[in-house]
C-alpha cells in the first residue's frame, strides 16, 4: 500500500449480476484474507454473512439492555408515584405490588427494547452518515437496483492496486474500477 494511494484512492470495486456469483466471490475474498472490504447488495442475500466471515450481529445486546432498562423503569416509577411520593390507598390493598402495574412494566419493557434495537442498529452501522466514498462511483446507484458489488478498501493491509485488480477479475467480477476518496 503506497502513501498516495491511501489519500486519493478509496478502493476497488467490481460488479456481479447473479447472487450465486457474488456469494462465491465473497467466499474467495474472505479466504484470500482481506479484512477491510464489503459487499453491496440490493437486498440481504441468504448466506452472505457466512460467506463474508461476519460474526453474529451485536444488536441483541442492545435490545436486552433496553428491555432490562424498560422493565426497571416501569417498576420504579409506578412504585415511586403510587407508593412513595404520594401513597395512594385503593381499597385497602398494598400500596405497591409487582402485579397491578404489570401491564405498564410490560409495555415499558417492549418500548425500551425496541428503542435499543432501533437505535442500536443505526449505532452499530454508524448511520446516519452524510456521505460515503462509495457514492463517488457513478455506477454505485445500481447497487440498490439489480447489481451486486464487492469493494475492497485501499486501507486493507493486503491491498496492492494492480494485484487486487487482477484478483477481482479472477473471482469473476466485471467492470473493475477505482473509487476515489
Amino acid at each position: 500500500m503506497s502513501e498516495n494511494a491511501s489519500n486519493q484512492l478509496y478502493g476497488l470495486v467490481c460488479s456481479f449480476s447473479k447472487t450465486a456469483d457474488v456469494l462465491h466471490a465473497a467466499e474467495k475474498v474472505r479466504d484470500a484474507g482481506f479484512k477491510r472490504w464489503d459487499v453491496y447488495t440490493p437486498f440481504p442475500i441468504h448466506g452472505m454473512d457466512a460467506a463474508m466471515g461476519l460474526t453474529r450481529s451485536r444488536v441483541p445486546v442492545l435490545t436486552l439492555l433496553g428491555g432490562v432498562t424498560g422493565f426497571c423503569t416501569g417498576m420504579l416509577f409506578t412504585w415511586y408515584m403510587n407508593a412513595y411520593d404520594y401513597p395512594l390507598i385503593v381499597g385497602g390493598k398494598p400500596l405497591w405490588s409487582p402485579i397491578f402495574p404489570f401491564p405498564v412494566m410490560y409495555e415499558c419493557t417492549i418500548l425500551f427494547a425496541a428503542f435499543g434495537t432501533f437505535f442500536g442498529q443505526f449505532l452499530l452501522n454508524r448511520l446516519p452518515r452524510h456521505h460515503h466514498p462509495v457514492f463517488n462511483y457513478e455506477k454505485f446507484v445500481q447497487a440498490s437496483d439489480d447489481t451486486f458489488m464487492i469493494v475492497i478498501d485501499a486501507t486493507d493491509p493486503q491491498f496492492e492496486l494492480e494485484k487486487t485488480r487482477g484478483f477481482l477479475s479472477e473471482i469473476g467480477g466485471a467492470e473493475v474500477a477505482e473509487i476515489q476518496n
Binding site: K18, T19, A20, E27, K28, D38, V39, Y40, T41, P42, F43, P44, I45, H46, G47, M48, D49, A50, A51, L54, R58, V59, P60, T63, T78, M81, N82, Y86, L88, V90, K93, F100, P101, P103, V104, Y106, E107, C108, I110, L111, A113, A114, T117, F118, G120, Q121, F122, L124, N125, L127, P128, R129, V134, F135, F140, V141, A143, S144, D145, D146
Partner: protein
C-alpha cells in the same frame, strides 16, 4: 478454497439423493419471472410518475371528509361531550366504539410484519409496508376519540403522561385506562419505528433514482445514508427480526389491554375472561379486511398483479375466514358461559343483546362477522375480487357493530331497570366518525404518493433468482 459445497451438502441430508423425493412446486410470490430491475421500476414509478388525476380528486374528497372531524371536534371541545349523545347511563358511546374499531384495524399491520415474519410466511412481503402504514394511520384516528372524550383535551398531558396534578397526586396504575395509555402509545411508537426501519433501504433506492433536487434531499435525509452494505444488512436483519419478536407480544397485548377496559369492570356482558383472546381475534379479522379493502383497488390501479398475486389474496381471505370463525365461536361461547354461570344479570345481558332494544345491531354483527366470511371457503369467491372487496367491507361494518353492541347494550341496560336508557348518537358523533375515514385517507394517499408502497428489497429477496442456490442441479 471455497466453503460453498460444504454449506450446501450439510444442509441436504444424504438420504434425499437415494429416495429422490418428488418436487412440489410452490406458488411463486412474484409472478411472470420478473427480474430485480422490473421490481425496482414497478414500485418506484408509483412515486416518481406525475401525480395521477384520480389521486388529486381523491385527495380533495378525503380532505373535505376530514374537515368533518375537525369541525366535530371543535364543536365538542367548545360545547361539551354531551353533544356526543353521552348521558347517563350510557357515557361511553360512539367515541369508545370508534376507538376500539380503529385500534382493531391497526392490528393487521403488525400481525403481518411481526407474527408472519416469525412464522416465515414469505407472502407477507408484498403487503407488509401498506399494512404497517395502515396500522399507524388507524392508531392516529383511534387516539383522537379517547383524548377528546375526556372533555378537557387541553389537560391531555396530565392523563397521557405520568404528571402529578395540582394536588401532587400521580395517576394510579391500578386503572386499566392507565394501562391502555401505555399500551396504545407503545404500540404506536414501536409500529412507527418498525415501519420506518423497514423503509430505510427502499428510501435509499428512491434517493439513488431521484432526479429533482427536492427528492434528493427528501429521500436522502430519510434514507440516513443507507448504502446497501452487507455489514449493514447483517445488523439490519437482526434488528428487524428482534423488532418482529418484540412486536409479537406487543400486538397481542394491545388489544388484550383494550379489552381490559371492559373486562376489568363489573358490568354484566363486559366482565368476562374470554375478552382478551376474543378481542385480539376480532382485531386481526377487521385489520385483514381493511388491508384487502385498501390493497385490491391499489393492485388494480397500479397493475401490481405480479407482486400481489392470487396467492396473496387467498392467504389473506383464509386468515379472515379463520379469525371470523374464531369470533363466531367467541359469540357463541359468551352465550354459553352466561347461561352456565347461573348469574341472572349475566344471562339477561346476553339475551338482551340479541333480543333487546339493540337486537338489530346484534344481528347486523352476526350477519357481517360470522356469516359473510364463511363465503371464503369457496375458491370461486376468493377469485372474484369484487366480491372479496364487498365481503371485506361487510366485515368492517360488522366489526364496528360488534364494538357498538358490546359497549352500548351493556351500559344501557345494567343492574337497575329504573336507570335504563336508550342511547342514540347525535349528528356530531356521525360527522366526527365519518370524518376520520377522510383523515385516514388523507394520510394513506400521502403515503402512496411519497413513500414506497411495497417493500422493494424484501420483494426482491423472495424471488427465485435471489436465492444463491437457484438453478443448482443438486
Amino acid at each position: 478454497m471455497s466453503h460453498a459445497p460444504e454449506i450446501t451438502s450439510s444442509a441436504r441430508p444424504a438420504i434425499l439423493d437415494r429416495i429422490a423425493p418428488a418436487e412440489l412446486p410452490r406458488r411463486p410470490l412474484v409472478e411472470n419471472n420478473r427480474g430485480f430491475h422490473w421490481i425496482t421500476e414497478k414500485i418506484c414509478r408509483i412515486v416518481e410518475d406525475p401525480t395521477p388525476t384520480w389521486w388529486k380528486v381523491l385527495f380533495l374528497v378525503a380532505l373535505f371528509l376530514a374537515s368533518f372531524t375537525l369541525v366535530g371536534l371543535v364543536y365538542v371541545v367548545s360545547t361539551g361531550t354531551a353533544t356526543w349523545g353521552l348521558r347517563s347511563p350510557v357515557n361511553w358511546g360512539w367515541a369508545i366504539v370508534n376507538f376500539v374499531f380503529w385500534v382493531g384495524i391497526g392490528h393487521a399491520g403488525t400481525l403481518i410484519s411481526a407474527i408472519l415474519c416469525l412464522l416465515r410466511q414469505k407472502w407477507r412481503t408484498s403487503i407488509n409496508r401498506a399494512a404497517e402504514a395502515m396500522t399507524i394511520f388507524a392508531v392516529c384516528c383511534a387516539g383522537l376519540f379517547p383524548v377528546f372524550h375526556t372533555g378537557r383535551v387541553w389537560m391531555a398531558a396530565w392523563y397521557l403522561l405520568p404528571i402529578p396534578n395540582s394536588y401532587d397526586i400521580w395517576p394510579q396504575f391500578r386503572s386499566p385506562l392507565e394501562w391502555d395509555v401505555f399500551a396504545v402509545s407503545t404500540y404506536f411508537t414501536v409500529s412507527l419505528l418498525f415501519w420506518y426501519m423497514g423503509m430505510v433501504p427502499d428510501l435509499g433506492v428512491l434517493r439513488d433514482r431521484a432526479k429533482q433536487l427536492w427528492r434528493k434531499y427528501f429521500y436522502g435525509v430519510l434514507a440516513m445514508g443507507w448504502r446497501n452494505s452487507n455489514r449493514h444488512w447483517s445488523n439490519y436483519e437482526m434488528a428487524y427480526l428482534l423488532l418482529a419478536g418484540l412486536s409479537t407480544p406487543l400486538v397481542l397485548s394491545v388489544h388484550t389491554i383494550v379489552s381490559f377496559d371492559f373486562a376489568v369492570s363489573n358490568l354484566p356482558g363486559w366482565h368476562t375472561t374470554i375478552f382478551p383472546p376474543y378481542f385480539v381475534a376480532g382485531a386481526i379479522f377487521s385489520g385483514f379486511a381493511m388491508v384487502l379493502t385498501l390493497m385490491l383497488p391499489l393492485r388494480a390501479v397500479f397493475g401490481l398483479h405480479d407482486l400481489i398475486t392470487q396467492y396473496h389474496i387467498d392467504c389473506m381471505t383464509k386468515i379472515i375466514l379463520a379469525t371470523g370463525t374464531m369470533v363466531g365461536y367467541a359469540y357463541a361461547m359468551e352465550f354459553f358461559i352466561a347461561a352456565y354461570s347461573g348469574n341472572p344479570f349475566e344471562s339477561f345481558a346476553f339475551i338482551n343483546r340479541a333480543f333487546g332494544q339493540y337486537g338489530w345491531a346484534y344481528f347486523i354483527m352476526i350477519a357481517c362477522n360470522v356469516i359473510s366470511p364463511q363465503l371464503f371457503w369457496f375458491r370461486k369467491i376468493r377469485e372474484n375480487h369484487a366480491l372479496v372487496w364487498i365481503i371485506c367491507f361487510f366485515v368492517n361494518v360488522g366489526m364496528w357493530f360488534e364494538r357498538f353492541v358490546i359497549t352500548v347494550s351493556s351500559l344501557a341496560n345494567d343492574f337497575l331497570p329504573s336507570s335504563w336508557g336508550y342511547y342514540s348518537p347525535t349528528i356530531v358523533d356521525i360527522f366526527t366518525f365519518f370524518g376520520t375515514f377522510g383523515f385516514f385517507s388523507v394520510l394513506f394517499l400521502l403515503f402512496i404518493r411519497f413513500l414506497p408502497l411495497l417493500p422493494i428489497a424484501e420483494v426482491k429477496a423472495v424471488t427465485p433468482q435471489a436465492d444463491p442456490h437457484h438453478g443448482d442441479t443438486h
